[in-house]
Amino acid sequence: MTAAPAPIPASFEGPLLSVQGLGKSFGPVAVLQDIAFDVRPGEVHAVIGENGAGKSTLMKILAGHLAPSAGTLAMHGAPLRLAGPVDAERHGIVLVHQEILLAPHLTVAENLFLGREQRRGLALDDRAMNAKAAEAVRALGAEIDPTAVVAQLSIARRQLVQIARALLVPHSLVIFDEPTASLTPIETDALLAVIRDIRAKGVAVLYVSHRLPEVKTIADRVTVLRDGRLIGTHEAAALEPLDMARMMVGRDMANLYPPRTPAPASEPVLEVKAMTVPGYAQDASFTLRRGEILGFAGLVGAGRTELLEGVLGLRPGHGEIRRAGKPARFATVRDSMAAGIVYLSEDRKGKGLLLAQDLRINLTLAALKRFTRGPVIDTAKEWAELDKAIAAFDVRTRRKDLLAGQLSGGNQQKLLLGKMMLLEPEIVVIDEPTRGIDIGTKQQIYSFIAELAAQGKSVIVISSEMQELIGLCHRILVMRSGRIVGEVAGDAMTEDEIVTYATGVRTTNPAERPAGEA
């Protein structure tokens, strides 16, 4: 909207921002070493790397949140020292955070102008702010009521609000830190269109992402980091996603998914009939077989998580459940755990791990009974189990007494896997198993899931990444608006096929009407 790029000195035609010999250390640990690259006006410059490669640290330095330990920044050829994020904004550098940082109970307009409210006399000028907010959101190609409360918006719309808020500042460089991590493919496409618009205005965009196909579509140039070092900057046109992955990991990534095994024709271990979770899922029925990996696809908000949480006693719901042929009722999650079913939440930080407690306490929390004699906990046994889990799940940690919150996302997921596997489950439900996780760790988690199935355990995978479901599952159920609307298996498991069900173009559910939603 009103945001004009910061003025560019007419005489200078080089890069907008250049980075030379940049380094950052926390105490003795060097997180970034000798990074050098530049960003040109009007380009989308992707920065990719595994978790722990230093991408976020680099972005925080560029946005003024951290000061570099070594090296220099230059803007339009002139040396640049950033005193803080506000100073960075004055220089036209804005960062769109990975997490949604909005006040949920305030309206869209109130959030957009938070801390820079417009006044008329003593009172707030709500009318002007609402009008400007609507305009700012429209500039991103969306129609969002500026007086809507943020908590009532979908994640994708909240993200747009967050982007609009960042772009209210006059800017010449916009940094997106993993903006699509929680978006569906359609929402992602919409966001990429927004980014193209920003680029078309001559603004430079730095784009951090794990999703390599997406990087391939959007980026003009790609800078790869590995272990805090620069691997190189390349024209995106010259790179395929597989090349990018190879550079990120430093080894060949051809076998991201484990070898495909035939779908088992074994006995059902879990049968769910006419399951309804009020407000989220209606009349859902499915069967899981021994040794099977069953996928749940669908858009965010389709009710996949809520359906499974309803089945497992994590939220109220009703329906008929059979476990290994016998009728079962899971009033609380303790009941389903007792029946050999565990659930790994998509919300690792909020529902999976105690971030402020150490690894040992997290590991044994769900299966604490195995570590007690009478009421007393055997800590030595716990430490021994932590050693085992660190080895078995390849948890990379500097020290064993770290807090769970100090681990990277991938290592948190491995710890959560270790925690839940201590319950020795027969059925494992994993929600978004690789969200926010680097590609090397993804491969490890996929092969772990395949191994579970090979051992005769059954796995349900809920994921918004269709490639992941197709690469991993024997069979995929597609949900839309709280109903299971399709099932694909074998060669029919393609993105196109899933999307036609997920978006309502096609349905096998008689209760579903083909056209739009209310």
Partner: protein
């Protein structure tokens, strides 16, 4: 990920400082007290101070459980008065003739009543899904009202002199020169520390306080754990009452007034986080000692009027929060 801003050494240092801070503060206070008045550092005075801290220390051990699980109990002061009043009335009714038997029965009844009061707080909080602040603010009024009603606006005193004499040693007695209340503090502290640090229940208390959702998804009965912390609080209140009643042999409408302030202050001064997840039993007991030592130093030194004790205690809880805030800066905290 890689942006953790503290080094391992830094974290260890802060961690130690945090758990040691209350003990350092107590040591400093004792030095100050000794400098201000030579009578402060006598065995008699110190034992006296520790003895008088017993009520708050014992109640605060229970409060440590409640607060570690992410709850709060404002009703402990009124509950103390109510349980004390009811206990004395029972002894005055003398349903058992034998003195020892009567005292034992009264003690069991008091503990049962305390547990019941705590259970009420816990169930309304968890099953009723009401903020503990509101629930215990309500029961604070209820217990106080019940006490005033039992005392008919005045006081309830133990009538039988022989029973009083028999019960007296529970506060005034000593074992190998150590006053009984101090032994009770140590016993309650040791038991509390054992339960909180070494048992599965204690681990669950900390987990629930750290994150209710993570605890629930881990198969922990959050409501049961929370409710039990309030029951423990009630039992601790009753144990404090057992030591309190023989001291004066009576309860009045104002018995236990502002004890909730002192108990919560002791917990916070001791290093337990008000947002839950971290509980420090020995820190809490140290916090109760600090409150009593401050009062004692004020009385002995004439620097500040002793009528200002409540004001000073109120100031201490605020200062303790400020100190905790500055010591607590750690990764993931923002």
């Amino acid at each position: 990920m890689s942006t953790t801003t503290t080094t391992p050494a830094g974290r260890g240092f802060r961690f130690d400082l945090r758990s040691l801070a209350p003990f350092l503060a107590l040591a400093v206070l004792i030095v100050v007290g000794a400098l201000l008045n030579p009578n402060f550092l006598t065995a008699d005075n110190l034992l006296n101070v520790a003895t008088r801290s017993a009520f708050i220390a014992i109640i605060a051990v229970g409060a440590t459980f409640v607060i570690t699980a992410g709850g709060l109990d404002l009703s402990v002061g009124s509950m103390s008065g109510f349980v004390a009043g009811a206990m004395i009335l029972l002894m005055n009714a003398a349903p058992v003739v034998d003195g020892h038997g009567m005292i034992a029965l009264a003690m069991v009844a008091a503990v049962g009543l305390g547990a019941l009061c705590g259970l009420g707080n816990g169930l309304v909080t968890t099953v009723g899904r009401i903020e503990p602040f509101i629930v215990t603010l309500g029961t604070m009024g209820i217990f106080r009202g019940l006490l005033i009603w039992l005392a008919e606006g005045g006081s309830i005193a133990m009538k039988a002199p022989d029973l009083r004499a028999l019960y007296r040693p529970v506060y005034f007695g000593t074992v190998f020169g150590v006053p009984v209340p101090i032994l009770v503090i140590l016993a309650v502290g040791a038991l509390g520390a054992f339960v909180l640090y070494r048992t599965a229940f204690g681990r669950h208390v900390r987990a629930v306080g750290s994150s209710e959702e993570v605890a629930r998804y881990s198969g922990i009965s959050v409501d049961r754990v929370r409710t039990l912390t309030y029951v423990i609080q009630g039992v601790c209140v009753a144990v404090a009452v057992l030591v309190y009643v023989p001291r004066l042999g009576s309860a009045t409408s104002t018995t236990g007034l502002l004890w909730e302030l002192q108990a919560i202050t002791a917990v916070v001064v001791g290093g337990t986080a008000l947002r839950g997840g971290v509980g420090r039993i020995w820190g809490t007991i140290c916090g109760a000692l600090i409150l009593e030592v401050v009062g004692n130093v004020m009385t002995l030194s004439n620097l500040v009027s002793e009528y200002l004790i409540s004001a000073v205690q109120g100031a201490i809880i605020i200062i303790a929060m400020l100190v905790q805030r500055s010591l607590l800066r750690r990764p993931g905290g923002s």
